[in-house]
Every structure is written in structure tokens, then in C-alpha cells.
């Protein structure tokens, strides 16, 4: 019930923000702060003694004859993602300049509504509604406030991800049409529907898996359906980029681990290997592409996609042994992959927030246009460096925990092919370091003139993110514990 209340409150807040005029920033900051506090309180109340499964379940019957319910529930995974959403959205709103106007803050709150809704929905109708609802405000954010070809890029973003979503929709419909045969009644609820996937006839099974995978991989994004990503990240205003990298890419990961994982028995071995290959290609290809970018924002866009490759990889690897007679999910990769989603979101929020201040103060975000800004703005340079280091997966930061557990787990599944993953990680490290050296340190680029360092408020935002990332890096059990409990409880697990 508590989770449902949070959703209702977020909807009311979201609508209210549109009408607050010039106080929009204050109102949106306070409201999203309240939401984060509510989520945190909820997590402490319900998840400090979490042992797996779904808590705070609640269901409203709309019509039982056609299986319409509005049911909500929160698991260890969704709780972690809710916290991530709360933090990313709060940061995104806090770094938004006042000059964007109340509509922008309203759109941001609307994204938060959509994200919270899709995370806590336990039935497909409302899951899909919120899933699609996220797209509309982001479309307006890019199209209205973006830069360079914003109209065609925003349209590309919308249509690309919308086509991904409609394939999810088709899969949902197929499952629904079989619900009567296998469950004895029509329903849209996620749990029961996903539990019958492995019973479907071969063609329908393929259809359902393709629909879900396509929809989720577009959002992730995975090679080769990623071409909306660099454009959208680049063109979007920085607050929207924070949302895109921190929260929107989380949707794809949640789709894989939160939705599709429940049907792990149904996924054929060759699909898993295919996904694994896609994941590895994503890691290496995006890392190589990022290396050749001359714009830091574009570079980090590809870095983000590369980091999400680990999620695909861990998803496939964690169930790769399950297709024998023993159905099971391997604990360490699965939890590691889930952790990676959270860590990636937080790190990207830090990186893009720091880059936002750099590009605003230095009026450029090209690698060659910057140079040695440590001399003028030491704080800013340090925060960016922390972001870069966290992004490349340095031990001590949250990103390391996810990547480490994935690599350890995957090694058992693919033995020495892990070399490719390591190769990708090396490239990732090298271009991060290279970029940091080129743009943040070294000789000062005198053309830039004076660069203002962060103000106190901005410092607080950045240090908050750094502390969260650092905390999760040294004490991952804060959420890792819940992820493990969730995984080991829902799936038959081999450790």
C-alpha cells in the first residue's frame, strides 16, 4: 500500500509543478526531495529486514472478467531502482537552471512519475502505460530545449524507442491471449504471465522473447540498435542527459532483470549466447567508438552504452546454465548485473552533472577546446576526475562492485573468452584517463579565459553523489544484500 501512496503522491506533485510559474525550481526541488525521502523511508521500513519476494503488494480490481487489475508491489530490485530514480531525478532537477521555465520542471517531474509507476506496477497494462509515458516528456525536453538538429533527433529518439515499446506490447498481448489456456483465467499480471512463457508453443515463444528483448535492448541500448543514443545524449540539455543516462537506460536493465528474468526457463541457449555476444560487442565497440569522440558529452554517451553492455552480458551469463535439466539462475552475475544498473545510473548522474558545470562555465564541451582547467577550477576538475574514475570502474567506487562480480561470474560460463571483456575494460580505462589528462590537467588552454569554479550549492550536489557512489563502493551490502535475497528467493539459484 505504501508504494502505491508514493505513486499517487508523485502524480499529484508532477501535475502541480506545471502551474508553479517562476517558483518552479524551488517547488520541483522540494517535491522531488520529498519523494526521495519517502522512498528512502519506505526502503528503511520495508527493506531493512528483507528476505525476498515482493512487499507492499496492493491490487485494485478494475474488471476481473477481462483480467484488469492495477496491482503494485516492490522487490529488492525495484526498491534499489526506486532509490536510484529518486536520486537521479533530484539531481537532475537541482542542476537545472532557473531559466528553463516551469514547463521543463513539470516535464522532469512527469518523467519521475513514469519511472516510479513502471517500477512498482505488477501488471502489464500499467507497466506499459508508464513505460510509454516516460517517452513523451523526454521528447519535449530534447525537442524544445536541445541543441543541433534537435527536432529530428527528438523525433528519432521517440520513434526508435516507441517501436521498441510496441514490440513489448505485442509480447504482452500474446501472453494475455494464452493466459486463459494455462492459468484458467484472463489476467494482465506480470508474475503469472511470465510464469507461463516456457509453456508456449515454439513460434509464440519466439515471438514473445523477441518482442521483449527488442524492446528492452533498444532502451539499454545494445549494439546494433543503439543509433538513437549518441544523438539524443548529445542534443539533450544536460539535465535531460542526466535523466537519459541515469534513469532511462535503467528501464532496459529493469526490463531484463525485473521482467524477462522471471521467464528464465523459457529462453533457449542460443539466444543466451547471442545476448552474451551482443553484450561483449557492446562493451568493446562502444568503448572503441568513445575513444574517437572529440566531444566529452558524446564520449560519455558511448561510455554509458558500453557500461550497459555488462548488464546484457550478466543477464545472459547468469541463466546460461539453466537451460539443462536443472533450471537455475547464478547468483553472483544476476545480483552483479542488477547492482551495475544502479551504479551506472549514479555514476552517469555524477559525470554529466560535472560536465554540465564545466560546459556551462567554460562554454565548451569539446575535448580539444578544454585543457588544464584544474588551474582555474580545481573543484570542478576533481569532481569530473572522480566521475571518470568511477565510470571506468576503479575499486572503491560503486561501478567496480558491479563489474567485478559480473566478470568473476561470467568467467565460469565462458572461460577464456572473458579476455574480450577485459580488453573492453582496458580500452575504457585508457580513454577515460586520456580524456581526463587532456581536458582537466596538463597545460592550461589560455583561450578559455577565466573559468568559474562550482558554487556552494553545486558543490553540495556533486559531493552528495560522490558520497553515495563511494558508500556503495565500500559498503555495497546496503543494496547488494537485498538484490541477493531477491534473486535467491525468486529464482532457483546456484551460487
Amino acid at each position: 500500500m505504501l508504494a502505491f501512496d508514493i505513486l499517487i503522491i508523485s502524480i499529484v506533485f508532477g501535475i502541480a509543478t506545471f502551474f508553479t510559474g517562476r517558483y518552479a525550481k524551488e517547488v520541483a526541488s522540494i517535491l522531488s526531495g520529498v519523494l526521495l525521502i519517502l522512498i528512502a523511508a519506505f526502503s528503511i521500513l520495508r527493506f531493512s529486514t528483507y528476505t525476498g519476494g515482493f512487499v507492499s503488494s496492493y491490487s485494485i480490481t478494475i474488471s476481473s472478467s477481462i483480467g484488469l487489475y492495477f496491482s503494485v508491489g516492490v522487490s529488492g530490485l525495484t526498491d534499489a531502482l526506486l532509490i536510484l530514480t529518486g536520486i537521479v531525478m533530484l539531481v537532475s532537477i537541482l542542476i537545472t537552471g532557473r531559466d528553463y521555465g516551469s514547463a521543463f520542471f513539470g516535464l522532469e517531474m512527469l518523467v519521475e512519475v513514469g519511472l516510479i509507476g513502471l517500477l512498482i506496477s505488477r501488471d502489464f497494462l500499467f507497466f506499459y502505460i508508464f513505460w510509454e509515458l516516460v517517452l513523451v516528456p523526454v521528447y519535449f525536453m530534447i525537442g524544445r530545449y536541445g541543441r543541433d538538429n534537435k527536432d529530428s533527433i527528438s523525433l528519432k529518439f521517440f520513434v526508435y524507442t516507441h517501436i521498441g515499446s510496441v514490440f513489448i506490447l505485442l509480447s504482452i498481448f500474446t501472453l494475455y491471449s494464452y493466459s486463459f489456456t494455462y492459468l484458467g483465467g484472463y489476467t494482465f499480471e506480470i508474475g503469472p504471465l511470465m510464469s507461463i512463457v516456457h509453456l508456449l508453443p515454439p513460434f509464440e515463444l519466439g515471438f514473445v522473447l523477441f518482442g521483449f528483448l527488442f524492446g528492452f535492448l533498444v532502451k539499454m541500448p545494445s549494439f546494433p540498435i543503439h543509433s538513437w543514443l549518441p544523438d539524443s545524449y548529445y542534443s539533450a540539455p544536460y539535465p535531460a542527459t542526466v535523466i537519459l543516462a541515469g534513469a532511462i537506460s535503467m528501464m532496459g536493465g529493469y526490463g531484463l532483470f525485473g521482467i524477462l528474468m522471471e521467464a528464465y526457463k523459457a529462453i533457449p541457449l542460443w539466444v543466451l549466447y547471442f545476448l552474451m555476444v551482443l553484450g561483449i560487442i557492446s562493451i568493446i565497440y562502444f568503448a572503441l567508438t568513445a575513444m574517437f569522440q572529440r566531444n566529452i558529452k558524446k564520449m560519455m554517451a558511448f561510455a554509458s552504452a558500453s557500461a550497459m553492455g555488462f548488464v546484457t552480458l550478466s543477464f545472459a551469463a547468469s541463466i546460461i546454465e539453466s537451460t539443462g535439466s536443472e533450471y537455475s539462475v547464478k547468483l553472483i552475475e544476476a545480483s552483479g548485473g542488477m547492482f551495475q544498473i544502479v551504479a551506472h545510473g549514479l555514476i552517469m548522474a555524477l559525470v554529466f552533472s560535472a560536465l554540465y558545470y564545466i560546459s556551462r562555465n567554460a562554454k565548451t564541451d569539446s575535448v580539444y577546446g578544454l585543457g588544464g582547467i584544474y588551474r582555474e577550477a580545481p573543484m570542478l576538475a576533481s569532481f569530473s576526475l572522480i566521475g571518470f574514475l568511477a565510470s571506468l570502474g576503479l575499486p572503491g567506487f560503486a561501478g567496480f562492485i558491479g563489474e567485478f562480480s559480473i566478470v568473476v561470474g561470467v568467467f565460469q560460463a565462458i572461460s577464456w573468452y572473458i579476455f574480450f571483456v577485459i580488453f573492453g575494460m582496458i580500452i575504457t580505462a585508457s580513454y577515460h584517463i586520456w580524456t581526463a589528462q587532456r581536458s582537466l590537467y596538463g597545460p592550461y588552454n589560455e583561450n578559455l579565459g577565466f573559468i568559474r569554479d562550482v558554487k556552494a550549492g553545486e558543490f553540495l550536489i556533486l559531493i552528495f553523489l560522490v558520497l553515495v557512489i563511494f558508500l556503495l563502493g565500500i559498503y555495497p551490502n546496503l543494496i547488494f544484500h537485498n538484490l541477493v535475497n531477491y534473486t535467491s528467493n525468486v529464482f532457483k539459484v546456484v551460487s
Binding site: 478494475i62 484488469l68 502505460i129 510509454e132 509515458l133 524544445r144 527536432d151 516507441h162 505485442l170 491471449s177
Partner: protein
């Protein structure tokens, strides 16, 4: 039983039609006529609600016909007020034509007799020919002439189809008991073909849609709102009854015809709409595409079989019913939004910057467009959602894939309109009439409301089996 009870709405409307005609001559003020007409239609809806469920003289009132009668009345109600501003002299003729056409609409909704349906349908058509000529400009007249000629051709086809139908089953009554003997099957096929062509014109489905683009573009915005909602939904009702009930023992050709037509209609209209520079023509093409989605209902139901007891049939018919209701607001509202532009030729440049001039109207218009595209939290989404659901539930995966990809294509051109609304600078003049604005905002609000009222749909599922009369 006193059968006259059934006809109170029709009698009331007929009397009021003449009253408006008579009262309008001395008054000569369109707003008064509009007020009377509005009140008449509201009262008629109330009378329909209190009409007993029974059957006499070929008219059957049940929940199904009551629902569609009210939906069709709403489509008339929808334009009765905003159009008043553009009528000028002799508005009483327009308004009595509107009342008489709504009379015909109720009959169409309530009858399961082919001849009564045909006559009622024609009475509506003739009234709409009169209405579409209003405006008096050259382009209005051109559009009307086009509409009129295709309309009469359609009539010819329909009457031929009716004749062949009678020849095949020896009755005009549409019922699931009509048995076709093997000897008359070819005549039944001819009946199907002729009726399909005739009503295809009215529904504006490919390839019988060409008139619609010019007619919707050429007539006054309010009249095109009525043409593309009222008469189209009416044609949809009658097509549902004829092809699902009347042809229920002869479903295979119905399925093949409608599956091919719906795919062609959706695809052609969506692709053609992509390249439009005129917003009104774009809306006209989108209206053709929506008809393509609507007739998916016929494809699914005839594929599954109306008496099969499958959930897909109930879902499909109910989603058709729900679609009709939402469609009136989203399509009618978008055509009314065109009134904001003070030009006959509504190009993209003409609507550019509406978001800066009147943000609430632009926001409402974009809600209507999002609803047409099928984005969540709008009625259009819910209607499409259940329609596609029933298509898959009926076992037609490939058809659902085509439909849903089409729906994704359509996003391109709806978004293009929204782009011009919000992030281009104003170039033309916009109307500041509060009535226009109010209608657009109200229809957007209703569309959102329908998207949130999930309870309506299960109710319709329960009603939908009454389509058999």
C-alpha cells in the same frame, strides 16, 4: 405493448427539426438556433436513455443500439455550438439538417433491418450534403460536389448490394439465423462486394477514400469534424451489423476482404500522411488510417466467428465501441482546433507557434494528437490497446504486427505537427474566439478522462454481445 414508446426520440427530433426551421426564419440569429439545437439534442439523449428495451417495426432498442445512438448524438452535439459563428445567414436550415441527420443516426443505430438502415442512412447522407455546402466559398462548393457525386455512386452500390442480399437470404432482417444455400452463394458474394464498396466510400477506406481528403479539406472545419466523426461512425455501426450479423454464416470472404482492406488502408493512409504539408489534409489522411484500425474489428470477429463464444469477439466489438466514442472527441476536437487558424489553407506554417500564442489550446491539441497516435493516458491509447489485444487474442499475430508498426509510423506525422505547434515562431494570425478554445480544451479533457476510466471498457465488453440484435 405500446410500440410508440420506442419512437419517442425520433418523433421528438422530427418535431424539433421543423420547429427550428420555422422559428429560425424570423429570428435569423445563428446563436439562438444553435442554442435550441443544442438543447434539442441533449433532451433527445435523455429520451434515448429512458427508451425501454424492446423491439417493434424493425427497430430494436437494446444496450448496444442505445450506446451507439448516444455516441452518434454526441457527435452532432459536438459541433452544434462552435459552428454557429461561421454560418451567417439562413442558419436555421443548417440546424434543422443537423437535427434531421441525428434522427437518421438514431434509426441506423437501432435497426437491424437492411431497408430501414439504408433509408435512414441515405437521409443522413442527404442532410450532410446540405451541411457541407455551407460556407459558400468556391472551395466549399467544390468539396460538396465531389462528396455528393461519390455519395450517390456509393448509394447505387449499396442498393445493389441490398438487392443481392435479399435475393440470397430472402429477408432484409439482419440476423445470425440467415442461412445461405449453396446455390445462392455467388449472389451473396456479389452482395458482399457491392455493400463493401458502397459503405467503403462512406467509411473512407482504401481505395474508396479519395473523395474524403478533398471533402474534409474543402468543407468548413466544423462540418469536416462532423463528416469525419458522425457519418463515419454511423457507417461503422451499420458495417458492423451487416457484415458481422447479416453475413455471420458466410464469414470467410468477409474476413479476407476486411483483412486486405484494413492493411491497405492503414498503410496507404499513414504513408500518404507523412508527406502532407497541409494540416487539414494530414488530419483527413489520419482519419482514413483510423478507419483502417476500426475495421480490424470486422477482420478479427469474422475470423473467430461471432457465435464462437471467444473472448476475442467480445473484446474486439467492445474496443470498436470504445474507439468510436474516443474517436469523436479526438478527431472532432482536432478538426475544431483548425478553427484557431485564420486561413482556409492550413499549412504547417499557419499553425506554427500556436503554443506561444495560446498555450492551453496548443497543449490540448497535442493531447488530441497523442491520443490519435495512441500514447498512454489518453483514450486513444486504451482503444487501440484493446483493439490490438483482441487481434492477437483472435490469433492474428501478423495483422497485429502490421497494425502496430503502422501506429508507430503515424507517430512521425503527429509529432511533426506538435513540433510546429511548440517550437516554431508564430507566422500567421490566430483566432481569439473563446468558444473555439473551449471546445478544443474540453475535448482534450474528455479524451484524457476516457483514458483513465478503465471501468467503461469492461462494461462495453458485457454489452457487446447484444450486437446480434
Amino acid at each position: 405493448m405500446n410500440a410508440i414508446d420506442l419512437f419517442y426520440p425520433e418523433i421528438f427530433l422530427a418535431i424539433m427539426g421543423f420547429v427550428v426551421l420555422a422559428v429560425g426564419i424570423p429570428i435569423r440569429k445563428s446563436s439562438v438556433n444553435a442554442g435550441i439545437t443544442f438543447a434539442t439534442l441533449v433532451v433527445a439523449i435523455i429520451i434515448i436513455l429512458f427508451t425501454p428495451y424492446s423491439s417493434a417495426y424493425g427497430i430494436t432498442m437494446n444496450k448496444f443500439s442505445e450506446y451507439f445512438a448516444i455516441v452518434l448524438m454526441i457527435s452532432a452535439l459536438f459541433i452544434s455550438l462552435p459552428v454557429a459563428k461561421y454560418l451567417g445567414k439562413r442558419s436555421e436550415i443548417f440546424y434543422s439538417a443537423l437535427i434531421f441527420s441525428s434522427l437518421g443516426m438514431i434509426l441506423v443505430a437501432a435497426t437491424w433491418n437492411l431497408i430501414i438502415a439504408f433509408v435512414a442512412f441515405e437521409s443522413v447522407s442527404i442532410m450532410t450534403y446540405v451541411m457541407s455546402a455551407y460556407g459558400g466559398k468556391q472551395r466549399n462548393l467544390e468539396a460538396t460536389v465531389k462528396y455528393f457525386f461519390t455519395g450517390t455512386i456509393a448509394t447505387t452500390f449499396i442498393i445493389l448490394g441490398v438487392a443481392f442480399y435479399f435475393f440470397s437470404v430472402h429477408t432484409f432482417v439482419l440476423s445470425t439465423n440467415n442461412i445461405i444455400s449453396a446455390a445462392t452463394k455467388s449472389s451473396m458474394l456479389l452482395a458482399l462486394l457491392f455493400l463493401l464498396i458502397g459503405f467503403g466510400f462512406k467509411l473512407a477506406i482504401f481505395p474508396m477514400h479519395q473523395w474524403a481528403i478533398d471533402a474534409y479539406d474543402g468543407t468548413e472545419n466544423d462540418v469536416s469534424a462532423f463528416l469525419s466523426t458522425g457519418t463515419k461512425i454511423m457507417a461503422f455501426v451499420i458495417v458492423l451489423k451487416i457484415f458481422l450479423v447479416g453475413f455471420s454464416s458466410y464469414t470467410a470472404p468477409v474476413y479476407y476482404f476486411f483483412v486486405v482492406l484494413s492493411v491497405l488502408t492503414m498503410t496507404y493512409a499513414n504513408v500518404a500522411a507523412l508527406s502532407q504539408n497541409n494540416v487539414k489534409r494530414l488530419l483527413a489522411y489520419s482519419s482514413v488510417a483510423q478507419a483502417g484500425y476500426l475495421i480490424l474489428v470486422l477482420a478479427v470477429v469474422s475470423y473467430v466467428g461471432i457465435g464462437s463464444g471467444s473472448k476475442a469477439v467480445d473484446l474486439a466489438i467492445a474496443s470498436g465501441m470504445f474507439y468510436s466514442l474516443v474517436y469523436i472527441f479526438m478527431k472532432g476536437g482536432s478538426f475544431l482546433a483548425m478553427n484557431m487558424v485564420k486561413q482556409d489553407n492550413v499549412t504547417f506554417d499557419a499553425i506554427a507557434g500556436l503554443g506561444k500564442k495560446s498555450p492551453y489550446v496548443a497543449a490540448s491539441f497535442s493531447i488530441l494528437l497523442l491520443s490519435l497516435a495512441g500514447i498512454p493516458l489518453t483514450g486513444g491509447f486504451l482503444a487501440k490497446y484493446f483493439l490490438f489485444l483482441s487481434v492477437i487474442d483472435g490469433g492474428l499475430w501478423w495483422l497485429a504486427v502490421i497494425a502496430i508498426l503502422n501506429s508507430a509510423i503515424s507517430v512521425f506525422y503527429y509529432m511533426k505537427v506538435m513540433r510546429y505547434l511548440f517550437w516554431e515562431d508564430p507566422k500567421g494570425e490566430f483566432s481569439t474566439d473563446i468558444g473555439n478554445k473551449a471546445m478544443v480544451i474540453i475535448s482534450a479533457a474528455l479524451v484524457v478522462l476516457l483514458g483513465l476510466l478503465y471501468v467503461i471498457f469492461p462494461m462495453l465488453v458485457n454489452i457487446s454481445s447484444q450486437i446480434v440484435g
